[in-house]
């Protein structure tokens, strides 16, 4: 399992958790991580809420 923080040290925390039987599948490209960071920002802007933590869990 590997955790990719989307806002290191920030509150509330946002992160991507990846779980897999194979080590190679734990890798996520930096570009995709950037997309997820933007996704959290867009969702907070859409709902006018910045107090919701986010855990994105991938099973690959």
């Amino acid at each position: 399992m590997r955790v990719y923080p989307l806002n290191p040290g920030g509150k509330p925390p946002h992160e991507v958790d990846v779980a897999s039987d194979d080590a190679w599948a734990l890798d996520i490209s930096p570009a995709l991580i950037d997309n997820y960071k933007q996704l959290v920002a867009e969702a907070d802007a859409l709902y006018h809420r910045t107090t919701i933590a986010t855990i994105i869990f991938f099973s690959r």
């Binding site: 509330p12 950037d34 997309n35 997820y36 933007q38 996704l39 920002a41 867009e42 969702a43 859409l46 709902y47 006018h48 809420r49 107090t51 919701i52 933590a53 986010t54 855990i55 994105i56 869990f57 991938f58 099973s59 690959r60």
Partner: protein
Amino acid sequence: MKARRPRGRTHASSTRVLACSNRDCFLTNFHIPGTDNTGALAAWPLPDFQAPMKGELLWVYEGLTEYLGTVLSARSGLTTPQQTRDYIALTASTMAHRAGRRWRSLQKNNAKNMHAARFCIFRRQNGLLTGGASIFIRRAS
């Protein structure tokens, strides 16, 4: 793997927990906590699993969820603008040729779907999801 859709009081959680290996599924679930702010789902959370579902506005909730999931995917760069436009066009075109909605409203469809939802939510809701989404697509276009 299909993500299990959180239901009932889970929606009031202050943490978005998303589990899936499918992008569409992920984006659909991402919208869920914000929906509570609209009050549209005020009647949906249940005190326990013995209480009957009240799903009168579920088509609104599911449709808005589906539509905003598409919007968020485009705004975050997970899909390109062209992919997003193609998806919306496909959904609208599909619903334009789905005859079932001419004799059965989304609201009537909800009641049976909600009873079935506890046991096979994704299987039975598929038409409901796209039906609700198509309405928001039309309103936004």
